[in-house]
């Protein structure tokens, strides 16, 4: 057998066995060669067949005189034989085995298999899984409501000046949510302005009305895109960070430590984050509006042959305070939603390192969904109010 396999040195023989029927209905298993996990191990099928044959043997003995070196591969093989014998009530005589093998077998059999340990990992049926999913969704909804309730209480405490958090944390969060995000907001908003301008230019040029690109970009950025793009950037950047920070604190029991100190983790961790994001989002949104208009102007001046003063004059004429206010209000609401989603997923985080990653992912997905839904509601409201 080993001669066939080119990977094995010809000097050592593979593990193998042969079976001999001895008198007294005894089955003798002759073990030979080297039994190693890293080499091929023979299967126990042949032994199983012999044990199942008629007339059934009453006893199994082993002969290890030709056995070379061995490791737990041999023990696993013998355990299989043991289970077969055990099931059929055939007795085993292990005296022919090396002492080390006998000790390992004894060790493996020292603690009987725990009843029911296998059953619990069986895949549950369809109904069970559907039911569990329903219960899980119900619990999620309840968690969400509880979170909003806790948040309301914490805000009440804040207004009553009884909330406990560190102003250092607030300052740190403002730094993280505001100034640190300016770079990415600049890039994305400028490009969105460019894209809006191109989109408009294709149609408007046909009517020789290229100058209206300025109106399109300004109104589009102010009313919708400034707030929306900032929200999407911040949910990926800050919402995920909130979830990961709080989730990690949960894994390392830092949240428990706050609770048992008598410090509400809710006030201590959520309020500074919420306040920081709600304060910074409108500012970022205004900045994003400006950058978008500059992107539009760039396209207008370089591609559409508009003069910069004309473009800006048209922009100023198109912009109203109402548009600006709509965008800023939206940004504030989006900021609150992102902070809530991020913190909530952080608090719901499980207790492993992969759970922290899941929490961050869920925070981003949830906040983007909430932002888009809120955007739809805003569109509806502004339509009713005719603004």
């Amino acid at each position: 057998m080993s001669a066939i396999n080119p990977n094995v040195q010809t000097a050592t023989r593979h593990g193998a066995y042969s079976i001999e029927h001895a008198p007294d209905a005894t089955l003798v298993v002759h073990l030979s060669g080297e039994w190693h996990l890293r080499r091929d191990l023979p299967s126990a099928d042949e032994v199983a067949r012999e044990l199942a044959s008629r007339p059934a043997p009453r006893r199994v003995t082993f002969d290890a005189t030709a056995l070379g070196r061995w490791d737990s591969g041999l023990v696993a093989f013998l355990t299989q034989i043991h289970e077969l014998c055990h099931r059929r009530g055939i007795s085993e005589d292990r005296s022919g085995l090396p002492a080390g093998v006998r000790r390992l077998l004894d060790l493996a059999e020292a603690v009987p298999e725990k009843q029911g340990a296998r059953g619990s990992v069986r895949r549950p049926g369809l109904f069970t899984r559907v039911g569990e999913a329903v219960i899980r969704h119900g619990e999620n909804a309840a968690d969400g409501l509880a979170f909003v309730g806790d948040l309301t209480l914490a805000i009440g405490r804040l207004i009553g000046r009884a909330a406990r958090f560190r102003y250092v944390d607030l300052a740190q969060n403002i730094q993280d949510c505001g100034p640190s995000a300016v770079g990415i907001v600049t890039l994305i908003s400028f490009l969105v302005g460019v894209i809006l301008a191109f989109m408009g230019a294709v149609q408007l040029q046909q009517f020789g009305a290229s100058i209206y690109v300025a109106d399109l970009v300004a109104i589009g950025m102010l009313r919708e895109m400034g707030a929306m793009m900032t929200a999407i950037i911040m949910s990926g950047r800050t919402g995920a960070a909130f979830a990961a920070q709080i989730g990690t604190m949960k894994v390392t029991q830092e949240i428990d430590a706050l609770t048992t100190m008598g410090i509400s983790p809710f006030q201590f961790l959520v309020l500074p984050r919420l306040i920081a994001l709600v304060l910074m989002m409108p500012l970022l949104c205004l900045y994003s509006d400006l950058m978008g208009i500059m992107g539009g102007a760039f396209v207008g001046v370089t591609m559409l042959n508009l003069s910069l003063p004309n473009y800006l004059r048209e922009t100023i004429a198109a912009v109203t305070l109402t548009y600006l206010a709509i965008g800023v209000v939206k940004a504030t609401v989006y900021g609150a939603l992102i902070a809530i989603a991020g913190c909530m997923e952080g608090f719901r985080c499980g207790s492993s390192s992969s759970a922290v990653g899941d929490a961050a992912t869920r925070a981003v997905v949830r906040s983007i969904v909430m932002v888009v839904v809120a955007c739809g509601i805003f569109a509806f409201i502004t339509n009713i109010l005719n603004i």
Partner: protein
């Protein structure tokens, strides 16, 4: 309900301090332990012991209000902790100190800020005084000079000691330790035991320790409860040294005497 505990003094030395009645702990419908009844007297060093995964840490989480009992009640003195309002609980919790398994220091704060946070939240001390007290508590645990280190900059054993410094920041009446010697070398673990005895003597605190280190159990414990994973209830309560001599429960006896040595595993010939 009389509120003798939250506003007044803790019970006198030797009086019942923590009383657990008919406590059942469960995760959803899975019952972890049932019918726990025991009393911790003021000044005890009380050991919660048992094999791995039997619910020792979960019992601790019940005692400090991080998990709610499925049934049963927990009293501190005559104060019903289980039925208390959130505000009452918070007030009581400020008189506890907890050392978590990994230290659970707040990673965004330096050691001095970690210890200073409870002081700044619940006392009227000036920042300079708080800093002074934080240094003192760090000195107690042998970490003088580490005030401005962040938890990630010090070793695991040091984090644990810093966690202890934070736990004793407000001179608590009850101190809880979750596996204090886990992850410590024998010498550090012995030093921690000495520190626990010292705290007990100087603060007069009641101390509850979750552990399965036999050396610690016999050195520091004078009262205990043994949780049996197989029967899912407590198998014994009392002084661990007496339990070792007298307990007739085979699981308790086996645990406290380290059972029979398991047969040595062998390599191949």
């Amino acid at each position: 309900m009389t509120d003798g505990y939250t506003n007044g003094q803790p019970p006198a030395e030797g009086e019942p301090h923590i009383v657990v009645r008919n406590l059942t702990m469960a995760y959803g419908s899975f019952v972890l332990m049932r019918d726990l009844n025991f009393t911790v007297r003021r000044g005890d060093i009380f050991i919660i012991m048992g094999g791995s995964g039997c619910g020792k840490s979960t019992l601790l989480r019940h005692l400090i209000g991080l998990k709610e009992p499925a049934t049963g009640e927990i009293f501190y003195g005559n104060f019903n902790f289980t039925r208390a309002s959130l505000a009452e609980r918070e007030r009581l919790l400020r008189r506890f100190g907890v050392l978590y398994q990994g230290g659970a220091l707040w990673s965004s704060m330096t050691l001095a800020e970690n210890i200073g946070l409870p002081l700044s939240q619940f006392t009227d001390l000036t920042p300079a005084q708080i800093r002074e007290i934080a240094s003192l508590k760090l000195a107690f645990v042998g970490l003088k000079g580490f005030e401005d280190y962040y938890p990630s900059q010090i070793s695991g054993g040091m984090q644990k000691r810093a966690g202890l410094a934070r736990a004793i920041a407000l001179d608590p009446e009850v101190l809880f330790f979750d596996e204090p010697s886990a992850g410590l070398d024998p010498v550090s673990s012995r030093l921690l035991d000495d520190l626990i005895l010292e705290l007990r003597a100087s603060l007069g605190a009641t101390i509850v320790v979750v552990t399965h280190e036999l050396a610690s159990i016999f050195t520091i414990g004078n009262n205990s409860v043994f949780l049996d994973a197989e029967t899912r209830t407590m198998a014994a309560a009392g002084d661990p040294k007496e339990l070792r001599e007298k307990s007739t429960n085979p699981h308790v006896h086996q645990f406290l005497t380290r059972g029979e040595p398991i047969m040595e595993s062998s390599g191949n010939a």
